[in-house]
């Protein structure tokens, strides 16, 4: 049995990939909360149907100096957020720390949710195999 062919596991790995990529983008926003003219970024919400259908081609690295596309983490699109017009900061920085921290908390929660779903699914398999479903 190939685990990677089970849709739920495919979705799970996709979701985990998206969540860790988002965490990276949010960490970058917070690290740059005092950088002049920095506009915060966020990931496009994950579209499951599109994500399942499209396989993103990744160019081969033929040289150690080549940079990978890890910034966008495959076909996850990073987009700039609209700057907050009501609270413009003097140095042109548009990061609102509490907003970003809220998103970090949300990402963390979703990550926990995804890993719990994964664990539950595994225990269902175990139950089917007759080794007890507790975990």
């Amino acid at each position: 049995m190939d685990f990677t062919k089970i849709p739920l596991f495919q979705m799970f790995s996709r979701r985990m990939e998206w969540l860790s990529a988002r965490q990276q983008v949010l960490a970058q926003n917070i690290a740059n909360s005092d950088t002049p003219h920095y506009v915060p970024q966020d990931l496009k919400p994950l579209d499951f149907h599109g994500a399942m259908a499209a396989q993103n081609p990744v160019p081969n690295r033929t040289h150690a100096m080549h940079l990978t596309l890890s910034r966008t983490a495959g076909n996850l699109k990073v987009e700039r957020q609209a700057a907050d017009q009501q609270n413009p900061s003097l140095d042109g920085n548009a990061v609102v720390i509490h907003d970003e921290l809220m998103k970090v908390a949300e990402t963390n929660m979703n990550h926990q949710l995804a890993s719990n779903v994964y664990r539950k699914q595994l225990s269902l398999f175990r139950l089917a195999l007759g080794r007890g479903g507790s975990s």
Partner: protein
């Protein structure tokens, strides 16, 4: 897995630049009374740190880095003290353009940013351990 290590690196870069900022601020405050010995030479000039978002080529992601440490162009303060060796012909001594209130505000901001980075680092670490814990189930 490797992707989850990247937020850790970004947050640590953020904490790194805030530490440098704190160091420069401490330098400013420590030098708030650095007056020259002779007339005609400038007293201590306040230093300012600026940041930039830059690509870290070793890990292939954008982190934050110190752009440059420049000196502030603000006016020097003056104090009337004719007996001072650095007094000019009118009896005024030039004082550094360091304002303790401004420095303290900057200190607070740096501290807050540091804490925010630390918070993100903590969450990223928890996500990482959460993923590793999947192996145990």
């Amino acid at each position: 897995m490797i992707d989850l290590l990247k937020p850790l690196k970004i947050s640590s870069a953020g904490m790194n630049v805030q530490t440098t900022r704190l160091r420069v601020l401490a330098e400013n405050i420590a030098n708030a009374d650095s007056i020259p010995e002779t007339a005609g030479t400038d007293p201590y000039r306040r230093k300012v740190v600026t940041f930039k978002n830059a690509l870290d080529r070793s890990i292939g992601i954008e982190t934050v880095r110190i752009n440059k440490v420049t000196t502030s162009k603000g006016e020097f303060q003056r104090r009337y003290d004719p007996t001072h060796p650095a007094a000019d012909k009118d009896g005024y001594v030039q004082l550094p353009n360091v304002n303790a209130l401004v420095e303290m505000m900057d200190f607070r901001e740096a501290q807050q940013s540091y804490q925010a980075n630390l918070g993100v680092l903590d969450v990223s670490k928890r996500m990482l351990t959460n993923t590793i814990d999947l192996l145990r189930s």
